[in-house]
């Protein structure tokens, strides 16, 4: 469905803390190895479905209503790297923790890359339309508990093996659910500000005076 290509290392390095320096040879070698493993075992999949707005079940809270303002439809999306990546990281945690954290951060980069590809593929199905950025359960006041609804509406457990635990953790872990508004008219440019992000208080980027770019 989606093929992963080279992973954005800058991004992965930011997750790993040392934003102030260039990676040395050890780090580079470690990342080479981890990238190769990830590209080998990952089985990226995505699934989407278009819903008409307003959709009561999905528009819970102020933030999502503001986000979807001006849209008459929305695309529900989920993506996953598959169970094999979780396992790869689990095994690495026994074998070599240094490798495990690199795999973990690179897998986070990978799933975001899968989402961006999925965005493009979906957008191509709706020529002339405009999209908001992806908004996920857990952003701002958008309840994390909606994960279950998303997956049910998408039939995700059966179709791509993505499910959610009782405490709303996606399984496999390297997965994303999101909703994006669709409009036939240009949308006011939104920025994924820190204000709606629930990591804003602990964010590594903010700590380093940076921004994640969303």
């Amino acid at each position: 469905m989606i093929a992963l290509e080279a992973l954005d290392r800058r991004e992965a390095l930011r997750y790993l803390g040392g934003a102030a320096v260039e990676p040395n040879e050890t780090m580079t070698r470690l990342m080479d190895g981890c990238e190769a493993q990830l590209l080998r075992v990952a089985q990226p999949k995505y699934l989407y479905r278009v819903v008409d707005l307003p959709c009561e079940e999905l528009t819970v809270g102020e933030d999502i209503r503001r986000h979807l303002r001006g849209c008459d439809r929305a695309v529900l999306l989920c993506t996953t790297l598959g169970a094999s990546v979780d396992r790869l990281i689990r095994v690495a945690q026994v074998r070599d923790m240094a490798e495990a954290v690199v795999l973990d951060s690179m897998a986070s980069v990978a799933i975001e890359q899968v989402c961006r590809k999925a965005d493009e593929l979906i957008a191509a199905q709706f020529p002339g339309c405009f999209f908001t950025f992806r908004f996920s359960p857990g952003y701002g006041d958008y309840p994390i508990g909606l994960q279950k609804t998303f997956l049910r509406l998408l039939d995700a457990p059966r179709r791509i093996g993505l499910s959610v635990s009782e405490s709303c953790l996606l399984v496999p872990a390297k997965s994303v659910t999101a909703i994006a508004g669709i409009s036939e008219h240009p949308l006011e440019r939104q920025r994924r500000g820190c204000a709606v992000c629930n990591l804003r208080k602990t964010c590594q980027y903010r700590r380093n005076g940076e921004h994640c770019g969303f």
Partner: protein, 797 residues
């Protein structure tokens, strides 16, 4: 009541026709339902009955109830109970069957949550979900477990069905184009495991169109004698129109092409309708069932990997506390990671199967067996051998094992035969049979052969295939009884050639009391292989032993074209031992994460420096320097971890030195770590563990998804008052709060004045300092480095 039952159908009919999709029928009818399609059983019973009726009219011998998702989890917000939905579902189907011979199958799909280790749902909880459904469906004629992607979940369902009903069971899984399920289960593992568990038919449903299922069906049939089920989708759905790509006639033709693999039951899944079932009926009218006996030799498997015992296969013996001080200590400390490291290193060494023995007087062996088996299976695909002298431990292990394991062991004693063999049968395992009985180990080959024969006969009487009995003719110490070696080998030869059983043998005993044991062991191993040994139980990390097996496989013509041998040794070059003095100081080596150099440097330092001075004046300051650089973003997290692991190597050297010179401990204090209940992301906690370990603290790691009470109990039992908790999600912060509350409330963890003895430090992605303080933590640790700072502050007073 029906006049026929499933077994009669199976015997009398050439083929058994199943129904087609229920979901597709509901969708096409445009019927509205509020929560899930199963609620229609109650709100629109006549509609559901009419769909069943249409399938029976099209020719279906068995119809599936509309209860696929009728479990307590999925129905949670539906306003109906499992019992209501299922009994209505069975009633609707029964009504449709009125006046016909059609049978009603209680349809059960996946729960909808992923099981451990990937997810948080425990095996035992999954069993309870299924048990409820099976009891609710008591009026059905048989049970269908379908669309499964996790063999572990399916095993829970099969056990629930077997233990709560006596109905026939059909079990089918869903495979992807990769040939595996989403969770990585292979068709071979599915076939082996389900056959062992005693289902009545097995196969594939949903997945792909019948045109793409040949590889899956072909693989399954190699590993089972059971009738196969194919209930495929009508091809692939068009993402926009949701129309399926394969029409009825072609569907039937594609299924026809699968008949030579022993397909006996067939129907349709997503996208099919009565027209597809009618087309199948028409096609089958002129076909004969083609039995397809299993062609594979005896096999054992995990969910992902099958090992066929068609030549010598190495069983790793290292997961066993006997004579191993560190292993015993790991068991007592609940140090599962130590055991996992042993598992992974044996597999890298060349083991294809692993023996697992956790018997130790100071622990609850049953609980530990379950915990260790689950943990090993979460990181390692090698099939396992469950090793215990206690039947209750064997059963607990068999229950929670995902795949087809080996039981180690049964012997010729009546008591053993009567307790162990029924377990082997029930859980579909293979078993090691030891040639000893009430009278001990017979001296002669003849005596051992007789016991082997008895074990095999008793196994067969219970329906266990003799190929699944692996006879161990027992190795005696050659320095004590020199001629016993020949008796062992002779017995082995006879068992292999006359009984047609596989054989296994623990090898290392042979050399006890002799010098150069490795030489004796590997020579004996080679002799035993030549007599027909299939499963040597050895330490695979001794190159001479693994090498003997690999070389034998080449010389005996088993390893064709020496492919495996070349693969194993292609890159091997003689190890270059660096005797050179370390170029780096100890501190530098730690800083740069150079493990072997650091260990070397530690050894040198130990010649003239007090061990505690090395720890406090060299190792800890070096780690501190790394930590500071990490805080200043000068290095990356993996480098911090590498330095910590390097320090670990130094600690190991020091510990060895200390254990030689006295019993002094280098531990700086004990700390409990846990990822809280509900949370299964523990990488952060594991990073903290590595660092604390390497600063010299003794960490008791309780793992992830840990019950608050277990944390309190462990703190009390082990007298530990420093506790670290991690939580990743906002949804699990409540568990963290609850854990802290319980810790504070526990009288045994309070000072005489009622204040808490515990120091709690917390961390996790969504946690903030304010929140940490609000829920009563003592320290908020932003990262692993800060956890070490907290530990230092508290434990070094």
């Amino acid at each position: 009541m029906n006049t026929v039952d499933f077994k009669t159908l199976l015997n009398q009919k050439e083929f058994i026709l199943l129904d087609g999709a229920m979901g597709t029928m509901i969708q096409k009818s445009g019927a509205h339902y509020a929560h899930s399609p199963e609620t229609l059983n109650i709100t629109r019973p006549e509609l559901i009955t009419s769909f069943h009726r249409a399938y029976i009219e099209a020719g279906a011998d068995i119809i599936y109830t509309n209860t696929f998702g009728a479990n307590a989890y999925k129905l949670m917000d539906s306003g109906f109970t499992v019992e209501e939905i299922i009994s209505a579902g069975v009633r609707n189907a029964k009504n449709a069957c009125e006046g016909t011979d059609a049978l009603v199958a209680l349809d059960i799909g996946p729960i909808g949550m992923l099981l451990e280790p990937a997810g948080a749902l425990r095996f035992e909880e999954a069993y309870d979900y299924y048990r409820q459904q099976i009891l609710a469906g008591r009026d059905a004629d048989l049970i269908v477990l379908e669309t499964m992607t996790d063999l572990y979940e399916l095993k829970a369902a099969v056990l629930a069905a077997k233990e709560n009903s006596d109905k026939p069971i059909l079990a089918t899984m869903t495979f992807e184009r990769s040939g595996r399920t989403f969770t990585g289960v292979s068709p071979a593992s599915a076939a082996l495991t389900l056959t062992g568990l005693g289902v009545d038919a097995l196969g594939v449903n949903c997945s792909l169109g019948p045109d793409e299922l040949e590889p899956v069906v072909a693989q399954m049939t190699r590993y089972t004698d059971l009738p196969l089920i194919v209930k495929a989708n009508a091809g692939l759905p068009d993402p926009n129109s949701n129309e399926y790509s394969i029409l009825p006639d072609r569907f039937a033709q594609c299924v026809k092409a699968l008949l030579p693999y022993g397909v006996k039951l067939t129907g349709g899944c997503c996208g099919t309708s009565p027209a597809y079932i009618a087309a199948l009926k028409e096609m089958l009218a002129s076909e004969r069932f083609q039995p397809c006996p299993r062609s594979a030799d005896t096999c054992v498997c995990s969910a992902a990997t099958v090992v066929e015992i068609n030549g010598p296969r190495i069983i790793g013996e290292r997961i066993n506390p006997t004579g191993k001080k560190l292993f015993k200590q790991a068991l007592v400390n609940n140090d599962i990671d130590y055991i996992l490291t042993q598992a992974l290193s044996q597999v890298s060494g060349g083991a294809e199967l692993l023996d697992v023995n956790v018997g130790h007087p100071e622990i609850d062996e049953k609980q530990m067996m379950v915990r260790v088996l689950k943990a090993i299976q979460s990181v390692c695909d090698a099939p396992l051998q469950i090793d215990s002298t206690k039947p209750e431990v064997l059963e607990a292990g068999l229950r929670c094992y995902n795949g087809k394991p080996i039981v180690n062991s049964v012997n010729g004693e009546e008591k053993s035969l009567a307790t162990v063999l029924p377990l082997v049968k029930k859980y579909g395992a293979s078993v090691v049979g030891l040639t000893l009985d009430e009278n001990g180990i017979p001296k002669t080959a003849e005596g051992r052969f007789e016991i082997a024969k008895r074990i095999v006969e008793r196994a067969e009487a219970l329906g266990i295939d003799r190929r699944d009995v692996y006879i161990d003719c027992l190795t005696l110490t050659v320095s004590a009884e020199q001629d016993a070696c020949r008796e062992t080998l002779q017995a082995l030869h006879r068992v292999k050639s006359e009984l047609g059983c596989k054989t296994c043998l623990g090898v290392s005993n042979i050399s006890f009391g002799l010098p150069n044991r490795e030489l004796v062991n590997s020579t004996f191993l080679t002799m035993a292989l030549e007599e027909g040994l299939d499963l040597p139980i050895i330490n695979p990390n001794i190159p001479a032993m693994t090498g003997a097996v690999r070389a034998y496989r080449v010389l005996a013509g088993i390893d064709r074209n020496s492919l495996d041998f070349i693969q194993a040794y292609r890159d091997a070059s003689p190890a270059v031992q660096s005797a050179a003095q370390s170029l780096h100081s100890l501190a530098d080596a730690v800083y740069h994460g150079l493990k072997s150099e650091a260990a070397q440097a530690t050894k040198q330092q130990l010649c003239d420096t007090d061990p505690m001075d090395i720890v406090n004046q060299m190792l800890i300051p070096a780690l501190d320097r790394v930590g500071e650089d990490f805080e200043k973003n000068k290095i990356f997290l993996p480098q911090l971890i590498q330095s910590a692991n390097t320090a670990q190597a130094c600690f190991d050297v020091i510990k060895q030195h200390l254990s030689r010179t006295g019993d002094q401990s280098v531990s700086k204090g004990k700390i409990i770590l846990a990822t809280v209940k509900g949370d299964i992301h523990d990488i952060g906690k594991n990073i903290v563990k590595v660092l604390l370990d390497n600063y010299g603290y003794t960490v008791v790691d309780l793992g992830k998804d840990v019950d608050p009470q277990l944390i309190v109990d462990t703190a009390v039992e082990r007298n530990i008052t420093m506790i670290g908790l991690s939580a990743l999600m906002t949804t699990t912060l409540a568990s963290m709060e609850e854990t802290i509350r319980l810790l504070r409330a526990e009288p045994a963890l309070q000072n005489p004045d009622g204040s808490s003895k515990c120091t709690v430090f917390v961390g996790g992605a969504v946690l903030t300092k304010d929140y940490a303080m609000k829920i009563g933590a003592d320290f908020y640790c932003r990262d692993a480095k800060e956890s070490v700072d907290a530990a230092k502050q508290v434990l070094q007073q």
